[in-house]
Structures are given as structure tokens and as C-alpha cells.
Symmetry: D3
Subunit: 286 residues, 6 copies
């Protein structure tokens, strides 16, 4: 993505590149390619801040997320860094209840940083490629649309490091993919699965020949979304996420209250009129 | 469907044809083919009344729903009529809170008319064909079984007219189709998708070569359902809809209370006995 | 499965064979092949007890479930036995409210026996083969992973015996398979569906050429799961089941509290260290 | 209430008097005093229609509900009429499942008519007096504020006619009154309780010496509410009802979406300005 | 209660006396008065079995629960016995995750034994007297109606033994008593509260001068309930418990399905006819 | 509270005094007495930060919250400051949908700042006194225990400034106080209510003669809580808040998982042993 313009408002982040490959589109790249884009705690704190900032940035209407380099989207948690931090070692004789409180706090912080992708009010298109295991699945489950390169190697790896995944995969995957039998298979066995398997179960919706092609496809989709009404696009994201978590009657009620304000904005009559007149609408920032 | 008998009890409806192509089966056709079966407000009010009446009509056990004519199931909202009604124009200076109250009311009325398909106690088989966009998706999401002709052109079109879909697609689609990545793709981009794509993600369960073949397949399926125990069929619809919206423990509890009455009816022993004796049971109206 | 060692602790069960084909793996076979493994009430009471015992047995980490014999996983309820028991006949003049109370109680007992598979804290891999109708679907919906032989004949048969399925299929199937249109099709029509159809909609995740091959594949998968950390595997089952029934925020909260204890165990550091040192970990019983 | 002006839009109702004792206030009186205001089916159908009409009538901002005559608010269901209708008699040999379907339909219709008080978007102040048993409790549980005359004789009477109350008391009373031990006492024993007991447990919030005084107090409160901002008053009713039925996080989310439109209306700045200038605001119809 | 007839079907229980002080009434007494009726594990296992048996026993329609002796309803957990059992001591070096699994299992078993009072289909009237702390609150929160002697000394004691109460008080008390400020006060401070305070906040609904008078009042209330329609009484308990845990729309739906069977029983017409004819109905066992 | 030690870690806050009147106790005072402790936006942002810091501060185990000065706890929103900020004025011609998005954001920020009291893991005792209207109710609804001075003047004032209260009162009050009739009365009428009325409906649990006495009582209660096991106290707060928002079965499940870690800490055996030996336990920081 070397030709994309870096976004100055995001230049200070250390572990991520944020550029703008198209109008209203931000491209976030996980930028630690020598370590297969593995995450340390400073990285996930920064990751959460970036997506919170993108959510509030009215110059950005769509986000593309990928890894820097050719080898990996991310290989997940940087286990070595975690071991050195002491995050993985239990101090001898530490009070179990006190340690449990600390751990709840740590997991919550981690969950909230990664969950910032889901809370981001703009659609996030996640491009998976190369090694995409462990935390890669947690992150991509928070995105709205997942596409991948054909060389992607996926795995819900946590069982193989002795834990039940706790950053979101087990909460979100059963609601993202139709086949529970498949979900339990990959979560319990921690086995690899391919791009082909991912698209056939519906985990991703497109497979492309290479990372470059996948990123190009994501940027093109993002550019198209960026030209649409932000009121319509952001409302659709909000209502689909609400729909996933509520029964139909609740969702219909929330939709009514949401659209009672949204439809009083200018995007709606403008889009209608453009449609009738066959002109191209331009929507204001939201 | 020219050979089907019109159902006299439904002859007064202006915008819909209701006939009986098989015993216990009603076929509802959206009948405004010159306007691509687009819906105006009088049409959706009538649509709601028809399905409420079908729900209570013990001569009807299954419903087939399609569009009249070859070109469209429905092209959705009749935008021009809506514009003339003033439904789309904001009066200058109107109080925002007052307008919001009106809009909540209008959306609720519209949701309830379309939702009458879901509330109808009999199975509804929806046959999509030709143009099937916008409201076509909202309506078909309320049906129990969706099949389509190979020429169907689907789209969740609302984002392109500047709004988040509010008549039910965003509430129901995430629960109807397994792949959330696909659902968000079609809802955010408003792009067309084909019959082939629809069947491969599970939105429809059959594709047929033409509208005629699809309607025939639907009528045949409906006729078969019409011969089964209405207590069993209607209970199954109710419990599957309940299952979609509740957790497993709740669903099992509701099922126990439901079947504690249903199993005391005559359909159950009669079906059992017919099975043991290899005879064909006849079930009474419910 | 003749070479598998019978598990002595389960030798007293009358209708089921329980053996151990691999370390930490129990294989349960429904053992009434002359009657197509059809279930009578004593059988489902025993079935519930077996899975409750397996759940608490720390020598067992994974369970494989299949039918004995070549013809059927199970043909479902033994209707003849039920008829002779009087379970299906309504006594003349019996008080409807009193009868309803009895039936609620009977259905609850039956639901709880079958549901013991879901409550079992260890993963259960269900191998479907031959006739697998009615109760076969209720049972397999409670398992974690479903695989089948290519000759399997599936059907949600209940509508054809005059009732809405009440032992769990209607509560669980909409959450197991992505396509609601397909779910309603098979539940309302009671039609047969094949192994191929089952895998394509995601009901099962593997099809094998024969029952033997399917059982071998299940045992191999089970043996692999048996070598993994039981804390990780059982936690993953618990959290995926919780995730199916709760919204994302609730699931993340429960996950934090769950893992705050689980991560203080020895499996986690041991798995991490084995990973770093490329050795094979051995996990203690849980 | 002889001096109140009858409201012409409600003159055609047969069983209820609707007058306007104060600006923006409607007073509904159950008007069958010779029969202790007992309800027959035509009455509850009319009752539902009145409250649906009041909900949509922008000339009405608050409703007072009482019984006509001195003896009763209502003595509940007109059992004799019900017996003559055949509603209470089971036809010999009628199919239990078919009868169950009919009864579900009848109870739902009855629940919806009475529940129209809760759904009415304007606050409803219920004045209980004299005999107030059975249906009187179901109705008053749907009102927002309950006050009573000191001579009121309350009872949740249904257990004494052989049924669990099914028109709403058992669903709403546990959420209206703090003491579950008291709720179960009066619901299980069907015993009478007095105005004094009702106020001490919080079922009513005021007791007055006579029906006249109670009605006067209700009208005075209604008149005061009628002068307040309808956006504020109706929003408060909606959000309190939502709060009763949802957890806190859900309620806060819905509140944000609701007020994002409501606060853009004119009532809010007008009320603020009136407050700062110490003038009396006048709010437009909503 | 020396004059009450022991119930032979319950004679084998070791730690509880079960007698019948009135027709259809069972009186359960916690019978370890020398130890202030403190509970050991064998006692709570037995307690669960008794209430499960009472729930299914059609000769029993109402249950009264009290402590034997003058000094205590129960002083709660027998801490000394628990210490000797090893239930309270952590084995050195035991794996935290393994221990956590055991403890979840123990707490669940304990919760289910005590919760058998709530699940019991018959109303349970709990008579508190003397020392009523810790587990006494958990138990009484499961009862339907609570009354007490004026000498009762209540306390939610768990904070003072270093734990958050886990057998049900914290789950149920906020739904039983109206004032959350009071609930948090007594749960956080573990302070004593008196019969007078208990009745004024609605935790109990009656206070009597002595244990004897309280038991007499409970038996009289139970005897009156025993003469009423069991269909009505048990339905009312079920629907009130359902109402506590569900929103209003859900409760109304469940109520319709429940009563569609219940009202087809004989109790309903019989009670109606007795009412019209002013005779005393006699209801059959349920 | 002049004799209390200021807590240095909280010295930088501008609008609040934070001191320590007793071991492990923090006392937060709203410190803008000349303006009746009215809140501007900088104040509520600071308020949120303070309670987030207190939640994580292991030197603090209990919090007391009151207003500085004699006249008011708080008079609520500083309307004049809000007017000057432009927060209350609608810019002419601003897009309604865009404005709605902004307002959702502002309300969410405000809700989260005030809600920090509820999220604070330590118990918060709120002392209300003098003017306690509008936001005073929102804030105190987030506290665990409410006590007040006899001169307190309470009001849910929002309806009188033209809006439905949106910072939490309408979400929490129906769950805090038993009588819904009273809740709707005070929320709809915006009328004043007295300390006496507040205690009689259970909104507060104690009334004291003066602010000083109320603060002394709060500090004494806080000091007592500060000496108890923090594992027990904080777990009790968490589980009671969970219990308010979930059904009983969910709460019992969460409780098991929570206590499976908490009971492995040292507080539990230490408290037990102290109880048996009649010594006073000392608990470590959590």
C-alpha cells in the first residue's frame, strides 16, 4: 500500500501504519512484520486507541485492516514478550482471589481494546493473509466484513496454549458462521483451516489470489462504501449488530426509534432525489 | 396460476390476488405488475389484513406468496407515490420531536403490516422471481421457506436511498443466514446478488429455472404440508420462531407447556395409528 | 469397535455399550440393533445417567457416540413400546389439566435425559449412520461435533407422527445450522435428507464413506482432543455453549470470570512452556 | 363528575363515559353501575378501542380512569354473561388441541384490550373505589399511577374461580409492588385487602376519604401533568416502562437513542427558558 | 406441632420431621435443634430430596417449613462440620483450575438442594423464628410466603465469614424486597435485623408474637390454600415465578399457553358453578 | 468533615474534595457550594475519573459521597453554564441526523461519567442533604446505599425542564424502589418529596437529623465495611448488581463461577478461623 497517503492524525502511533488509499477510507496496517505482527500489551492498547479515534473521525467513513508484510496478518499474542512481562507466570503463594481480580481486569482491558473494532461506528473490512491465528481470529470476528488471500492459514489456536480463547472468538464466532459443528471442530481441535474452508463455511466472504489483490478488493469496496450516505451506512452497521444480539421484536422497536431521527436528516431526501433524477449524490460528513 | 380457484373470502382486496391452487393452500399474488409490484401505503395496509385473515382462516393451512407478472416479485417501496404523499418530504420548521413521534408511528404500522407474514400461524412459502429488491427482502425474511427462480435479482437496496432498512431486514437477516460477513456485505453495499449466491449462502433453499417452475414447486410443497397434521405443522412453526429468539432452556420450557395441550388432541394418536397401519390419515381443521 | 476395551464402570448399563478405543476416550454405542436402536423410556433414562456419569468421570476427556450395528444410529422413539405403555393413549374422561401436568413432567424428564449430552462437560462427537431420524436429530443436536457416514438417512420426522418435535430439535437446530429456510423446510415437511445435504448446510462437518470410517475419524479426533489440556477443552465447550445463548457483552463478562480461575491452573503455563520448548505436554486429570 | 364536558369523539361508546374535566385531560368511566361495572366481551373490546384512540388523540395528554356509580370500580368478569356465551363451558368431545388454540386466541384478545392502557402513550391515573376485584387488578396494573378511596375492597380473586389470573396481574404485580411475599399471599389466597394495606405495600400511592375526593385528586394531578411538556411526559412514561423490562445497560442505550430526537424539539429549550425567566411555558400538541 | 400426624412417606428422613397438621398440608421441620438446626452436607442433600418428593406428591398441596425447637430456624452452615470435612481447607499445592471446577460443582449441588423449595410446584410458607441467619435467608428466599415470630434474629451473615453469599440470597433478595438500599445495607454489613424491620421492608408479610403463633398462622393459611383448586394455586405459583424473571410481553405469552390447557380441566367450571350456587367446591388431586 | 485527612492521590481534582475520614474509607465531596454544587461538563468528566480511580485504588475499600456546604447535595445540571456552552441551543439549519449522532455521543459520555459510581468495585454510600434534585437522583441511584438528612428536598426534576431524564434515573429507579405507582408519580409530576417520604418508600434506608449526623453515620458504616473482607464485600456488590439485571438461574450460574476463584483466596479461611477463635481478622488489600 506504498502509494497511499499517510494520515497525519495517526502518525504518532508506533505499531500501526494508518494511510488513506481512497477518499474517506483509512487503511490500518499492523506493523511489526519481523515478529509476524505478534501483539504485545503496548500494541493492543494502541490498537484500541486507533479504532476509538477512527470511530470519532468524521473524515473517515470506512476502515480497511490488514497486516504489514507478506507473511502474516498476525501470529497472535507475542508469547515471549508476555512471558518476560510476567503476565504468564504465577507468583508463588499469591492469593488466588487477588490474582483472579487482577486477571479479570487484564482480560477486560484486552477485550475492550480488541472490541474497539466492533464499537467503531464505521464499517471495518478485515483482510486476512498469511499466518492468521489466535488473536487474528478474535480481531477479525469484530470486523464487519472479512475477506482473505488464498494463502491464509487460519487457526483458533488457544486450546493448544492451554486456555479457552477469552478475547472474543468464543463469544462471537457462533454468531458469525452458520455451522456450529464446524465452529466447535476448529475451536476444540485448534487445527489449521484454509482460505477455501473459510469461504465455504461463510467465515470470509471473498478469497483472492494474493494479499495485494485482497487488499485492492477491500479498498475498492471501502471506496464504494465511502461514497454512500454515512447516515445509512453507520445506521446499518449499528442495527445489524443490534439485530445479532436481540430478538426480532426488540430489534424492530430499536430500529423505529433510531430511524425516527435518522430519516429527518438530509441524506435521505438527497439520496431519493438523486435516484429519481439519476444524478450522483454527495453526502456531508457525519 | 390461471387455473387456480379464486378464494371468494379474499375477493375484495384490491392489490392482491388470492386463489387456491390445491386443497388447504392459498396463493397470494402481489398484483400491480405494471408498476413492478411496488408498494404504496394502501397496499401494505391491505397486505397486513390479508395475512391476518389467512392466519385465522381454518380452511387455509399453507400459504404461497409470489408477485404477479413476469418482471418482479416487487421492486419495493413505490418511491414516487411516497414522494407525492409527502411521506418523504420534511415540512419546513416542523418540530423535530413531533415529527419523530409521527415517524415512529409510521414505521411501526409498516413493520406490523409486513410482519403479519411472520405472525401468520400457517407456514408461508415465498417464491422470489425477477426484481426482488428492498421491501422484497423485508417481506421474504418474514416467510418460513424461501425459494426462487434463477432470474431473480436480489438487493438490500435501502442504503442507496439514504437509510438503514427499517421494515425488518436488519433485524431478521442475521438470524436467517449463517454468514455474517456476507450479510454485512450485501446490507452495506446494497449490491445485487443472484439466485445462485442466494442459495449458496442459504438465504433461499431452492432455485428453479423459471418463475413458473418455482411456483409449481412451492405449490407442490404447500399441498404436501396441507395434508399433514395442522397441530403438528403450526406448532412446529411457532416453536421454531420461538427457538430463534430465545435461549435453549427457555425454548425447552415453552415447548413442554405448548405440547402438554397439543398432544391431547386427536391428530397425534391418529397420525401414530396411521403410521402403524400404513394408512393415510385425514386431519380435521384447526 | 470390537477391539476397544469395555469400560468396567459402565458395564452395568443394559442398553448401551461403553468402551475405550483410545486414551481418555469413551465410546458409547446405542445397543438395540435388532430394533434399529429405537428408544423406550428405560433406555432414555439410562442414556441420561450414562452421560451424567461421563461428565463427572475424570478418566474420560472426550466421548464418541454412535449406534451399534449397521442399519441405524437410531430410528427414534419406539412407537410400539410407547403405545403399549399407554404413553400415547389418552384415558377417556381424564381431566385435561391433570393430564397436561403429567405430560409436562414426562416431556421434561425426556428432555433432561437427552440434554445430558449437552450438559456433559466433555466434548461429545456424534457419528450418524444409516437410519437417523426423529430422536436421532434431537440427540445429535446436543452433541458438539457431528460427522456421518455417506449412507445416513436423516429426517426430522415428528410432524409425520402428528406432533411438533419436543425433545430439543426445534430449540437447537435454528442455532446449529445457518439457513433458516432449510431448517423450516426439513422440520415442516419431515422429508429425508442425505449426508451430502447435511454437510452442505453445515449440520455435519464431515462425511465418510462408511460407518467404520466415520467412527475411526471420530475416534482419531477424540484421541487428539484427549491429549490436549482438559482445562482448555472443557472451558472452550462451556464458553461456546454460553456464547450461543447470550449476547456478546454477556459472553465476554462470563469469559473473564471463568478464565480468572482457569488461567491460574498448571495447564496454561505448561502448554506455553511446551510450545516454546517444542516438547509434548502431559496434562493432569481435571 | 357531572360537570365535566363529554368528549364528542368518544360519544359513540356504549359502555364507557368519556369526558374532559380539565384541559388536555380525558376521564374514562366504566359505565355499567347496575352490574357493578362487570365486564362482558363487548365491553373489553370497546375498552381496548377507547385507549387506542386516546393514545393517538393529540388533544388528550393525560387520562383518568374510574368506575361509574358508588359501589364498584369493577367487580371483574361478568361470570353469568360468560356462562351464557358458552365461554366457560367445554363442549363435550371437543378436540383438546383445537380448543387450546381457540383459548390462546381468546386470552390474547382479552390481554390486548386491557393492555391498551399500558400501551397508551399518555399517563393513565387509575382511581380505584368500592369493589375492585379480579379484572380490576389486571386493569389497574396497566395504569401508571394508582390512587384509591378508603372504602376500596381489593382482591386478586381468580384462584377462587379455579384459574390462575391470565389477563396480566401475575405478569405485572411482581414488578409493581416491592414485597414478593405479600404479592404471593394475595394472589394465592385470593383474600380481600384494604386501601390501607394497598398504600402500605405501595400498590397505590394515595388513599382518599371518598371516591369523589380520590377522583378530584386524580383530576388535579392530571391537570398538572396536562400543562407539562408532552415530549417530556410521554418520553418519561415510555422510558420507565422500558426500564421495568430491561437491564440497566439496555435502558441507557435506548434512552440515548430516544432523547437524541426528543431533545431537538422545541419543548426542551422552551421549558429551559421559561425556567430561567420564571414564566409559564405553553407546549404545543404532540 | 406435636399433635400433627407424621407422614409415613417421609419417615425415613434423618434430619427433618414431616407431618400433616391439616388436610393436604405437609409441615417440614428442620430437626437438629441441639445444633441450632445448622446444616451439614448430608442435611442439604436430604433437604433437596424432601422438596422434590413433596413436589410430586399429589396428597400434598401446600407446605409449611420451620425449625424444630425454640431457639433457631437455622443458624446456617455448620462451620465446624464443614471444617472437619475439609470443605473449607485448601489443600496445599492443589491446582487452582482443578479446585475451581470442584467448587463450581459443590456450589451447584448446594444451590440445587436449596432451590428445590422454589422448584416445588406447591406453595411453601416459611416460618422464621429465633436465630435465622446465613443459610436461613437463602432458604426463605426460595419460599413463596415468609412469616415470622417477633423474636426472629435475621442476618445475611456471609460477608462476615469472608465470602459473598452463593446459595441464592444475592440472586433472589433484590427481587423479593422493594428497597435496594436496604438490601445492600444488610448484605454488605451482615448486620442483624429484627422481625419489625423485616415486615416493614416487605421481606416477611406477617409477624406473630411467638413461634407457636406464627406456625399456627402458617398452618391456617396452608389449610385454606389446600382447599382451593390445585390447578389454580399451582398455576399461580408458576406464573408469578415466571413473571419475576421475564418481561411483561414474555409473561403474557407464556400465560396464554399455560392456561390454554389449565382452563380445560374440571376445576375451573366447578369453581365457577360453586360460586354461582354458593356451595363449597371439592377439587380432585392434581 | 474538616478533620478528615485529604488523600494526596486525589488532590489535583478541581471540583471535588477527597479525604479519608477512616481507615480504607474515601469521602468524596462535590465542591462547588456557592453554585449549590451544580454540575458543568468539566465537573462530570472529573467525577467519572475520580470513581474510576477509586475503583482501582487498593487503599480504598469503601466510598462516602456527599455535597460540600450546607445547602445542597447538588441542584443538578448547571443550566446557565449549559446554555452558554451551546449545549442547549440548536443551531439553525443543522442536519437532524448529524445532530442526533452528536447528542447520542454527549448523553453516552454523561451517562458513563455518572455510571462510574455503579461500576466502582467498592461500595458507595451516598449521603443526600439539602437540595437534591435532578442529577442528584441520577447519581444517588448509582450508589449502593442511600441515607439522608431530614432537610433533604428531593425531586426528579427533568420533566419540568422539558425532557425525560436520560442520565439513569428512569433506568434504575424502577429497580431500586418497590412501588411503581410512586416512581411514576414522582417522575411524571417532578414534584418535591421529603426525607420522610424517601425512607418510607425505601429510596433511602436511613434519615438523620442533620447533614453532619448523616455523614457521621455513613462514615461509621463505611469504617465497619472497611474492616471486612474486601473479597466478600466487593463480590457481594458485584453479585447484587448482577442479580438486579438477570434472572435467578443466570445469577446462580454466574455466582458459582465467581466464587470458584474467590473462595480459594485467604480471606475465607481467615474469616472462618477468626469466627471460630473469636479473634478479629485483618484482611489484606485486594
Amino acid at each position: 500500500m506504498s502509494t497511499a497517503t499517510p494520515l497525519p492524525a495517526y502518525a504518532a502511533y508506533e505499531h500501526f501504519l494508518v494511510s488513506s488509499p481512497a477518499l474517506f477510507v483509512a487503511h490500518v496496517e499492523i506493523n511489526r512484520p519481523r515478529k509476524l505482527n505478534a501483539f504485545s500489551r503496548p500494541m493492543w492498547l494502541e490498537f484500541g486507541r486507533i479504532f476509538t479515534q477512527l470511530s470519532a473521525d468524521s473524515d473517515v467513513r470506512v476502515v480497511v485492516l490488514s497486516g504489514a508484510g507478506d507473511r502474516a496478518f498476525t501470529s497472535g499474542l507475542d508469547v515471549q514478550a508476555a512471558a518476560e512481562d510476567g503476565a504468564l507466570t504465577t507468583e508463588e503463594g499469591k492469593d488466588v482471589a487477588k490474582k483472579a481480580k487482577e486477571m479479570r481486569g487484564h482480560i477486560e482491558e484486552f477485550q475492550e481494546c480488541i472490541g474497539a473494532v466492533e464499537k467503531c461506528e464505521k464499517p471495518v473490512i478485515c483482510v486476512l493473509h498469511g499466518i492468521s491465528i489466535g488473536l487474528a481470529i478474535d480481531i477479525s470476528c469484530c470486523a464487519d466484513i472479512r475477506i482473505c488471500a488464498s494463502n491464509t492459514r487460519f487457526a483458533v489456536k488457544e486450546v493448544d496454549i492451554g486456555l479457552a480463547a477469552d478475547i472474543g472468538t468464543l463469544a462471537r464466532l457462533p454468531k458469525i458462521v452458520g455451522s456450529t459443528s464446524w465452529v466447535k471442530d476448529v475451536c476444540l481441535t485448534a487445527r489449521d483451516f484454509s482460505a477455501q474452508e473459510a469461504v465455504s463455511v461463510g467465515f470470509v466472504s471473498q478469497v483472492h489470489g494474493s494479499k495485494e489483490q485482497a487488499v485492492q478488493a477491500a479498498v475498492a469496496m471501502a471506496a464504494a462504501l465511502g461514497e454512500k450516505s454515512p447516515v445509512a451506512v453507520q445506521g446499518t452497521k449499528e442495527l445489524l449488530n443490534y439485530g445479532r444480539d436481540h430478538d426480532v421484536a426488540e430489534s424492530l422497536r430499536y430500529t423505529r426509534v433510531w430511524n425516527a431521527a435518522a430519516l429527518q436528516g438530509k441524506d435521505f431526501p438527497q439520496a431519493i432525489m438523486s435516484g429519481l433524477k439519476k444524478t450522483k449524490p454527495r453526502f456531508e460528513k457525519l
